[in-house]
């Protein structure tokens, strides 16, 4: 009890120095938490991919289209349950900075293929029966104050012109890592206008989402799909949704690696700051440690005193940092465009890593002062003039 009191009193003997160190640790933990959140969110898009979904795209790149006629052929393969054609529409909603995914999809199959996009039965029926209907995710509905049955207008860029829709549904993401920021509308609505205005671009899609009934056969079915279109003008590449998403994430791997590196670099820097504080403190207390040793306090007592002080400072800083990480991540989420990170939350692994980082900082920072205190002879300690 007394030792704990002494640890606490020692830690705050130089209030300004300790407070500055605590602030430094807190900032480091916040930065670490924020960077780790971005990294884990990036990775969790891969985790969100389902094992029973395949993505079929043009073999060279998904920026090249595939004929819409492929859909029927893919549907006929044994083991395929549903096929949904998709076209990345993009367009501008009110302002070009309002970024979220806007995709033309097969309205009949999309919500069967993506059951984690939770749309009520009534709204699904309304969506299906209205040609110009669209469905938006609850997150962007909230962000842009989009209401049911209201018009929604996009200014086309990839597909020029004014595109008018009516919001017939607002879906809710079923899971924490389900994208709640998409706008979905009928592929037919897009295609019919293209037939009239740009016939060369009509009847083309950019990827198919293929729902299969047995994930164990994903490789076999993928091969079957690609074999169907071999030597055609538009050969396909089919892979699991996870592999497809992984491809996107891999494209950003250099950025992710840099962020990962930075997050740990920050921890390393703050470790040096705390170590410096602890070294200064223990040097100033060389005489006191000599007194403790003289009175009969053993090495384990001194280790407890120094390690306890270091851990106390690190844990207070880490705790404050962790508590502040939540509102700061939440604020960060509000500032960035909604569609840039479809979902943004602090993973439990980030919390565990932040706590671990604080503990490791406290532990490692105490090593050198402990070593110094134990190695210093009592008589040398008394000679020290701080």
């Amino acid at each position: 009890m007394k030792i704990l009191k002494l640890i606490f009193k020692n830690a705050f003997r130089h209030k300004l120095r300790t407070v500055l160190t605590i602030i430094g640790i807190a900032i480091a933990v916040i930065a670490f938490g924020l960077l780790r959140t971005v990294v884990t969110i990036w990775d969790s898009s891969v985790d969100a991919a389902q094992v029973n979904r395949l993505i079929t795209r043009q073999s060279v790149s998904f920026i090249f289209p595939l004929p819409y006629s492929y859909k029927e052929k893919i549907e006929n393969i044994q083991g395929v349950e549903k096929v949904c054609a998709s076209v990345w529409f993009q367009g501008i909603y009110k302002d070009k900075n309002n970024f979220f995914a806007r995709i033309a999809v097969d309205h009949e199959t999309f919500f069967d293929v993506y059951p984690e996009f939770d749309l009520s039965k009534d709204q699904l029926e309304e969506f299906k029966k209205n040609r110009n209907a669209c469905v938006v995710g609850a997150d962007i509905a909230k962000q842009y104050n989009i209401k049911l049955n209201e018009p929604l207008v996009l200014e086309g860029d990839i597909f020029p012109g004014r595109w008018e829709f009516v919001v017939k549904g607002i879906y809710k993401p079923k899971h924490k890592n389900t994208d709640g920021t998409q706008m979905l509308f009928h592929f037919d609505y897009l295609n019919e206008r293209l037939i009239a205005e740009s016939p060369l671009r009509a009847n083309q899609v950019y990827w198919y989402i293929v729902k299969i009934n047995n994930p164990d056969k994903s490789a076999q079915i993928s091969n079957q799909i690609d074999a169907l279109f071999k030597n055609s003008s538009s050969e396909t590449k089919t892979e699991t949704e996870r592999a497809f998403t992984q491809g996107f994430v891999s494209a950003s791997s250099a950025i992710i690696t840099a962020m990962n590196f930075m997050s740990f670099l920050i921890i390393g820097i703050i470790m040096l700051v705390l170590a410096n504080t602890m070294i200064m403190s223990s040097r100033e207390r060389a005489r006191e440690y000599a007194v403790f040793k003289t009175l009969g306090f053993s090495a384990k007592h001194l280790i407890g005193l120094i390690l306890g002080e270091s851990m106390l400072i690190a844990c207070i800083g880490g705790g404050i940092g962790l508590v502040l990480t939540f509102p700061i991540v939440s604020g960060f989420e509000k500032v960035i465009p909604k569609g840039f990170f479809p979902f943004f939350f602090i993973e439990s692994s980030t919390i565990i890593l932040s706590i671990s980082a604080a503990i490791i900082i406290g532990f490692i920072s105490a090593i050198f002062p402990i070593q110094k205190a134990l190695q210093t002879k009592i008589i040398d300690g008394f000679r020290y003039v701080g």
Binding site: K2, I3, K5, L6, K9, N10, R13, R287, E288, A290, V291, F292, K293, T294, L295, G296, F297, S298, A299, K377, I378, I379, F382
Partner: protein, 223 residues
Amino acid sequence: MSSLIQIKNVAKSYWRNSLEIPVLHDISFDVNEGEFLALMGPSGSGKTTLLNLIAGIDRPSAGEIIINNINISELNESALAKWRSSNVGFVFQFYNLIPVLTAFENVELPLLLTKLNKSERQQHVETALNIVGLGDRINHYPKQLSGGQEQRVAIARAIVTDPLILVADEPTGDLDKNSANEILTLMDRLNSEFKKTILMVTHDPHAAERAKLIRHLEKGDLV
């Protein structure tokens, strides 16, 4: 009177790089139980080194120090630390109190290593502080006390475990004349009334006069 402390052919040298610096040469003497011994000598004569060896905070290069039939030169570090905690009370020139602890907490420090419970510790601390006349200052921090009062707290800390011997290194060296007299009177009382064996290093003849026996050291030899 029986010999409580036996110093047999003790020598001590320090090393600076490869250069040996002898500090004590073949010192032998006994200290009886209940003695109040003053070690005197000029700076560099080795008196503090000898006191440190007797107190078990340094080790001799040669010879033996036997205290109450225990050869402390043979004890390992942890055994020596344990021995010090129950057998030696220390009084330093610069008091060496822990500044963030109150007088009570400073005096209580050595008792934290014992099996005494909280109320027993409190009783011991209050007794020790009453003996040194600071029963009314238990909640004061060192910076709220005068030099003489700080030294009295240090003496209370030294006696709170009821040690076998009390070692004092220039206990009045940092005090004015009146405070020094108070401290010497207190030590006198500890020796005469509480039968404490006291070894005091001093270069102040006035302080040494209070001891029952004076030994002089010069250039590492007893003279």
